[in-house]
């Protein structure tokens, strides 16, 4: 901090296992990735190379190196995993991410239906060599799962070897743990909170209102993801009580 004010929530130093910020990279240039690292590396734990962008951006290896040198862990979004699985090419996926140099991997079934035992098998398998995020929740309307399934799947995926489990919201923040208008599905979230240590969960929260809601519910060191690359610093001001929405939240 450029000035040490009292009553600012403490944040653990990286590498940390709570208070995580996961940022969405939808196809940044190398220079834009460097810009993120210059200004926000201290506040960024993971960068997700969103959906299948990792196959299309010519600079992906350079960006992975750039993020790693800044102490940020890059990984490929779950949709890319699903694209390989949909073609029955799990071994190719493993080789692809091995060759790319990442140390983290996401396993999801947001669009592709995958038998849940099979999903847990993928988690067990990849967790031998990678730090695993597994994601629960569908991207598809009409395929929503029950609260009991959310809880049970999160538990079994953590048991299978996931380092953290991600609660789905889409990039737009209107699915999974949120209602169509972007407000929190609080019944679902409370049901999850009752049963699972929330430090094990990373909540996708692309909208400011969602970030504020989770910080007020679970404190400044809640794990939040799908943060736009331009919103990392604003999110950090929320976590530290340096923005209107939380300015008075951490004062005595």
């Amino acid at each position: 901090m450029n000035f040490n004010l009292p009553f600012i929530p403490e944040r653990p130093e990286r590498p940390r296992s709570s208070g995580l910020t996961m940022v969405m990279d939808k196809g940044l240039s190398l220079r834009q990735a460097e810009d993120l690292c210059e200004v926000a590396s201290e506040y960024t734990d993971f960068v997700k190379l969103g959906f299948g962008t990792g196959l299309l951006t010519p600079n992906v290896k350079d960006k992975i190196k750039c993020y790693q040198e800044a102490g940020i862990k890059p990984y490929f979004g779950g949709t890319l995993f699903e694209a390989f699985i949909a073609r029955n090419q799990f071994d190719d996926y493993r080789r692809f991410i091995e060759n790319s140099g990442v140390e983290t991997a996401e396993i999801s079934d947001g669009v592709l239906p995958i038998d849940h035992d099979k999903k847990c098998q993928y988690i067990r398998e990849l967790s031998k060599d990678f730090q695993i995020f597994s994601e629960v929740g569908t991207k598809l309307k009409g395929k929503e799962i029950s609260n009991a399934e959310w809880v049970s799947w999160m538990k079994t995926e953590l048991e299978a070897g996931a380092w953290k489990v991600i609660a789905e919201a889409r990039e737009s923040g209107n699915m999974g743990i949120y209602n169509e208008d972007g407000s929190a599905n609080s019944t679902l979230i409370m049901d999850i909170k009752k049963e699972i240590n929330t430090a094990e969960i990373l909540w996708e929260a692309p909208l400011k209102s969602q970030q504020v809601w989770f910080i007020k519910l679970l404190g400044p060191n809640v794990n939040l993801g799908n943060i736009s690359n331009t919103e990392v610093i604003p999110l950090e001001t929320l976590r530290r009580g340096l923005r209107g929405d939380t300015l008075l939240s951490f004062l005595p």
Copy 2:
């Protein structure tokens, strides 16, 4: 592609006449234009220097050169054409774009009422020296035109020498071919599709939901425009079935 997956839709190589992506530049710096070229030149056919920004940005000549060196065709948005025509300065407009070094020009009447025969005369005139986009559809509420007029004007503008005809949506995506809530005006679009080869049309589609809708209707090589400079790679993942919304669309 960084890995060759099967069942990924084929995309023609640039310069192409279908599968076009037209990107909106609302006043980028030279470095931001270079960033776009670094990461997305292969996926970008045209860059529109939006509305009258081309008169105000000091770097416009450098950006035009930068785009052209990356194989992208820059051009000035139709509103700038209308600003000259509103002042009865057509010859000045022609000189201005000639001096700027672009090879493409847009002719529109989105705000300024222009007699349709006169508009076609401008198209005939400028198409001698420039590749022409002509745009159909108003930017003004209460000035909407009938479906029959859309079809008839598109036809006559193509006959007059337009290379492609653009279907208006505004930067915000809530006019012309879209309803006020951004959803597609499907009756209008079907009426157009029945009468005109859709390869001759470039649909403005600034919102992801609109891009998905058109890709599902007309396939991965539909011509789409008014794409934000940060959304070119995400759009390309939609075209290739590498994002949730189209992940299963092109599989056998």
Copy 3:
């Protein structure tokens, strides 16, 4: 301008006291700040280092220098002032901004309740050494103030030494002078306009519709703030009648 069209509204040269554009910097990298200066310095009067970002971005001194070299005046957002006042550290705040090298300061009570006489005392005190923006209007729902209070507070804050008074809208543009849907609270704005010289007011107007509304009401040289760094050039096209929404507004 790259071409001199007639009937383009005149804009005063910087440093100006009307026609101001204040831009929001939510945590830009140094390179992104340079990009803004490259393309838009002529059109930018002030850059606000938004809310508490000034405490968190490691590059803040370099950015302040960068903006100042481009003739732009940077300053810290009012929320940072409130964060110090909430801790009873006014003297520390004064030292902090003195050391940072800025010449402008904002005094606000958007979240922290501050007795209005006390607020005016802060204005009197800091205006000895700094050019002062004071802000009227709450960021909190349910704490809205009456139209009479808006007018009276604006007057007394200008009398206390504020150079301009800012009318609050939040970054999202749905509070203060706007209704929840972002439309203008026109009764309030008319009440203010009747009593105060609008050249003394800077209106926060993050949304395009709000910028258009104010330009149509108060002309191209209305003072507007909370403009995104990517929207400075588009706003300037609105002011000059070079965008659809105002294309016909300034023609004879």
